[in-house]
């Protein structure tokens, strides 16, 4: 009885996707609707006959865009399958063929025919000239493409892939498809762009010429001149990574190996980089050390030191990035330092080693892989940072800002931007690769699940004193920085007139009550609401994709799992500026034409923040005993029912965390966003950068302060909610304590 019922179980899914394919083909507008699909203006504006809004079927009926016709067969064929049994070999074969053929044709025609007809000359030579053209695909095409994809996966499942599990096969294929479109396709476009010369032809010579540019690789700074951007970025990243790793270790030692009482306060520090837009620290540095900065002013008044612009350049960026990324290193190292088994240190003590010798010969060597890990993270973060070099860089060119100026500035040189992006990408990917494959096998701190009852020994005196001194100074500095940010937002004009005022907040966030309702008259509201809206749409999608990916990685075994994991985590190592440039190159033209829309921002956030969701999911899913899933399976639930009924409810804290963090990260992002915003969709961070460029620091800082408070409340709300959700003895909330 049970077996025969499962034969029919997947049929509704099949029918759903066949129907979806037809809806996409015959009901929804095939091409992108310029005024926005969800305005639904198109419904009253000539639909379904107007060629801009027509579904594919109506275009064909009018004899237009005939190249869409072959897809009709791919949509009809699955109807044959409905009468077949799932065990029939023809069932799987037909679905496989139909899905693959439909999808291939859809992609081929999309890539071959653009806004000016054929996209390449040889197609015109082969098939004769074409006077029609097409724009970017819209929701109709999207739905039909998804239908083909999932018909294909049902075919795969019917042929026995992953034990014939439709949900798992579809999830894997779906994730691969979207990662391919939104991560690999843009990067591939970027690579190609790097080989396109000034005359439009593809040549390796023009690549080499631009690649070898002195402005990228020059080493003039050793002989009094200027170095290339690549070396600048590299030196900067090395310095910053060294400082953040050291500082992170100092704080981790203070928290775990000393009698320090306010440990919770120090842990709270780790929230700061999450809620602080990256360039805000840079702004505060300017307020302190800039030409009219407080400290500069103090030295000028008391010691008569002539104010200079010393802070603009390497020193400023180093200070700002070190402040910004120390908490990240701290977060990594606290796990490492705590992870060193106390019983090993206790064993060393009983073997007559002094405290200092224990630290030197046991504790520190065991932390070494963790230290390297923190260093590489700091390296990647510094390389990828865009905000701080932008506001503090001065004449110190780094790759991330050079990319921006190559695209946005007067040069408008896509080829140069692409090459710079490739150089930057090689650095970060190299570090990422080293982190995963070299360090991946070297960790000494494995959590065995066995209780370890020992206590970490306190630091030796000779280490404790300098550690405390450094930690205190650094802590105070951080407090001063954040104090400056707040103070800077309530003074008239920094450096000139320090009268207290709320006028910046008023300019940005004023509103009036009128007859028609509230009127948001402040200048910041537009970008603020856009940011909230985009972040709100992106967050649940990011969390969903992240958790499904985490589920596949922790719970399913399939060929190519490692490659799958690498691919999904890769976007972590792709700097935002590189994403920005590659999205512009890839999505400015059909078949996927989404630049200037809100969609591209949402997509960008999803793939920028996906690794965070994946990590959160993996961390909490590995706390769940695998036998829970297995018992659900043996009780007759399929893998989708298991995911929904058992895994998801137990992951509620992880889901909330993924939601809030992707929301917050979407609000603070700048590097990729600055390429993708448009007049209609301006984001808070890019608006603030715009204010900074106009020297309107007051408004910029007031806005930043507001953002920090909004995000702080989001994070606190999360803590409150997660604290309340505790289920059972295996409740995932338990390990949060």
């Amino acid at each position: 009885m049970k077996i025969s019922s499962s034969e029919n179980k997947t049929l509704p899914v099949l029918i759903f996707w066949i129907l979806a394919g037809w809806v996409g083909f015959a009901v929804l507008p095939w091409y992108g609707v310029e005024d926005g699909f969800f305005s639904f203006d198109w419904v009253f504006d000539g639909y379904p006959m107007d060629r801009d809004y027509a579904p594919a079927a109506f275009l064909l009926a009018q004899g237009k865009n005939l190249w869409l016709a072959p897809m009709v067969f791919a949509l009809l064929a699955p109807l044959l399958v409905l009468r077949l049994k799932k065990s029939d070999p023809r069932y799987g074969a037909i679905l496989l063929a139909v899905g693959a053929a439909g999808l291939a044709w859809l992609m081929a025609q999309g890539l071959a025919i653009g806004i000016r007809g054929w996209t390449t000359d040889w197609l015109g030579l082969a098939f004769g000239p074409l006077d029609s053209r097409q724009y970017g695909m819209g929701y109709g095409a999207l739905l039909t493409a998804s239908a083909f994809l999932f018909l294909f996966t049902q075919g795969l499942a019917a042929r026995g892939a992953i034990n014939g599990d439709v949900f798992v096969v579809s999830a894997i294929t779906g994730v691969i498809a979207i990662v391919a479109i939104f991560v690999f396709f843009p990067i591939a476009k970027l690579m190609t762009a790097a080989f396109i010369g000034d005359d439009g032809s593809i040549s390796i010579l023009s690549f080499l010429a631009k690649f070898g540019d002195r402005r990228i690789w020059g080493l003039g700074c050793f002989s009094g001149g200027r170095c290339g951007a690549a070396w600048n970025s590299f030196f900067l990243a090395i310095i910053v990574a060294t400082i953040t790793t050291t500082m992170g270790l100092v704080f981790a030692l203070v928290v775990t190996r000393s009698g320090f009482k306010y440990k919770r306060l120090l842990r709270a520090l780790t929230v700061l980089p999450i809620i602080t837009p990256p360039f805000v620290i840079g702004l505060a540095i300017i307020l302190l050390f800039g030409l009219s900065g407080s400290i500069t002013g103090f030295f000028a008044d008391v010691f008569g030191v002539q104010p200079t612009r010393w802070v603009y350049g390497l020193p400023g960026i180093v200070i700002a990035q070190s402040l910004a990324y120390t908490p990240i290193a701290f977060l990594v190292l606290i796990g490492v330092v705590e992870g060193v088994s106390p019983s090993m240190e206790e064993a060393a003590q009983t073997l007559r080693a002094s405290r200092w010798e224990v630290f030197k010969t046991v504790s520190l060597p065991l932390m070494r892989p963790g230290l390297a890990n923190a260093f590489l993270l700091g390296f990647i973060e510094s390389m990828a940072d865009f905000g701080n070099p932008l506001v503090l860089g001065g004449n110190y060119d780094v790759l991330s800002t050079e990319i921006f100026f190559a695209i946005v500035g007067a040069q408008y040189d896509q080829g140069r931007a692409a090459i710079l992006a490739i150089v930057l990408l090689s650095f970060t990917l190299g570090a990422f690769y080293a982190q995963r494959f070299w360090l991946g096998r070297k960790s000494y701190t494995t959590v065995s699940g066995k209780g370890d009852s020992g206590v970490h020994p306190a630091m030796p005196r000779g280490l404790a004193i300098p550690t405390f001194a450094i930690a205190t100074i650094w802590g105070l500095f951080t407090v001063v920085i954040y104090g400056m940010i707040f103070y800077g937002s309530v003074v008239e004009v920094w450096g000139m007139n320090h009268e207290l005022t709320f006028k910046h907040y008023v300019t940005a966030f004023s509103f009036r009550f009128e007859d028609s309702g509230i009127r948001w008259s402040g200048s910041a509201w537009d970008s603020f609401w856009t940011t909230i809206k985009i972040a709100t749409i992106a967050a649940p999608l990011t969390a969903a994709i992240g958790l499904i990916t985490a589920y596949l990685l922790t719970r399913q075994n399939f060929a190519g799992r490692n490659a799958f994991e690498f691919g999904t985590m890769l976007s972590f190592a792709i700097p935002g500026t590189v994403i920005g440039v590659s999205y512009i190159l890839a999505f400015n033209v059909p078949p996927v034409e989404i630049t200037g829309t809100g969609v591209i921002l949402v997509v960008c956030f999803i793939f920028r923040n996906m690794p965070v969701g994946v990590r959160a999911g993996i961390a909490s899913m590995s706390q769940l005993d695998k036998s829970l899933d297995e018992s659900s399976l043996t009780l007759g639930a399929n893998s989708w029912q298991t995911f929904r009924g058992v895994v998801l409810p137990l992951l509620r804290p992880a889901i909330l965390a993924a939601l809030v963090y992707s929301f917050v990260r979407a609000m603070t992002a700048i590097s990729a966003v600055i390429f993708l915003v448009s007049a209609e969709y301006d984001m808070a961070t890019s608006y603030i950068i715009g204010r900074v460029e106009n020297n309107d620091y007051g408004l910029a800082i007031a806005y930043s302060t507001t953002l920090i408070f909004v995000m702080l409340s989001a994070v606190l709300l999360l803590q409150l909610l997660v604290g309340k959700i505790r289920i059972g003895r295996r409740g995932a909330g338990r390990e949060k304590e």
Binding site: M1, K2, I3, S5, S6, G160, N163, G164, D165, D625, S627, L628, E630, S631, S632, L633, T634, L635, G636, A637, N638, S639, Q641, G645, V646, P649, L650, I727, G728, R729, R730, G731
Partner: protein, 361 residues
């Protein structure tokens, strides 16, 4: 179909034909085994860790797919069928109760997916809980139950589906010793009352002897011996089984003559008669349980002269280690009030029944 159909009993046979499971490229977990499990029987898979017993169980459940060979349940080939679609349920070592569901929700969980009408589900679940004596705990969370109660919920959850085969993966290993005896008796009782086919994995030989109709002893990814508890204890096929099921002294001897089914063996000069078990004249090994060794203070007929090298008092009996011409032997005696002394020389004899020759030693 060969299954015995009764009112609400779908108990089915299980058979493995040439089944092999390889993990990765070359880790052979189960190597070409054949196995027949009759409907309505409780069969134990017994063996040291890493012998392939859990993998075998998981292949019946459909949680692992065999690399080669075929598996049938109730005469139907299920080799490629995933766990969801098999009519088999399993009680996990960790119980795997869903912590976010109450006891009754846990027990109802499987019923929801097997096409039962909604109204029946609660009753069926309560009935199942009644069977394990937990009907009053329906609305508690698993975390509010003791270990033994959680274990019984896990059993009820698997039982209510009335599966063709019910699987147990070391179900008692998280319970303390006293509870273990009680729960294993309950499991056996339910199995016999309902006539279920049960496959049970354990590494505890005493547990296996106590609950099983048939024991499958596994070793190095293969099957060492299949038999009833009595057969395995009284007539082990080889050294491994003899030593794994109960303790045994393995004594090297020589078969000097064979008369019909009876062999006469020579153990360093001591002559003893026992069943040939198909062996012929020549060197052989025999298994002697520690309790089947008799130690006499004064020589009484044929025997071996041995020295007591260790004597340990363990409360209910004495344990002796003996230095003998055929190596060290281990014996137990019930007389704790007049123990032998270390260094004392005594005469050793084997009891009339018990010692056996090992055909595959």
């Amino acid at each position: 179909m060969t299954m015995t159909e009764t009112m609400n009993n779908k108990a089915a046979s299980v058979s493995f034909r040439n089944v092999t499971k390889v993990y990765g490229k070359d880790v052979v977990a189960v190597d070409n085994i054949d196995l027949e499990i009759e409907p309505g029987k409780l069969v134990t898979l017994l063996g040291p860790s890493g012998c392939g017993k859990t993998t075998t169980l998981r292949m019946i459940a459909g949680l692992e797919m065999s690399t080669k060979g075929s598996i049938t349940i109730g005469g139907v080939d299920v080799t490629r069928l995933p766990a969801t679609d098999r009519d088999v349920s399993m009680v996990f070592q960790s119980y795997a109760l869903f912590p976010h569901m109450t006891v009754i929700e846990n027990v109802s969980y499987g019923l929801k997916f097997s096409g039962h009408p909604k109204s029946d589900i609660r009753n069926a679940a309560l009935e199942g809980l009644g069977l394990v004596g937990l009907a009053d705990f329906a609305d508690r969370l698993p975390s509010e139950l003791s270990g033994g109660q959680q274990q019984r919920v896990a059993v009820a959850r698997a039982l209510v589906l009335k599966p063709q085969v019910l699987l147990f993966d070391e179900p008692l290993s998280n319970l303390d010793a006293k509870l273990r005896r009680q729960v294993r008796e309950e499991i056996r009782e339910i199995q016999q009352n309902l006539g279920l086919t049960v496959v049970y994995v354990t590494h505890d030989q005493e547990e296996a002897l106590a609950v099983s109709d048939t024991i499958v002893v596994m070793r190095n990814a293969g099957i060492a011996q299949i038999g009833t508890p009595r057969e395995l204890y009284d007539a082990p096929a080889d050294r491994f089984v003899a030593d794994f099921i109960g303790e045994a002294n393995l004594v090297e001897c020589a078969i000097t003559s064979v008369e019909g089914d009876t062999a006469e063996v020579d153990i360093a000069g001591y002559r003893y008669r026992l069943d040939t078990r198909g062996l012929d004249v020549g060197p052989a090994t025999m298994a002697v349980r520690p309790g089947r060794i008799v130690l006499n203070r004064d020589a009484a007929g044929d025997g071996l002269e041995v020295t007591v090298s260790k004597a340990t008092y363990v409360g209910s009996r004495m344990e002796y280690t003996l230095a003998t011409p055929v190596g060290e032997l281990f014996a137990v005696m019930d007389d704790v009030y007049d123990p032998l002394d270390v260094g004392q020389v005594v005469q050793l004899q084997f009891a009339d029944i018990g010692p056996v020759l090992l055909p595959e030693a």
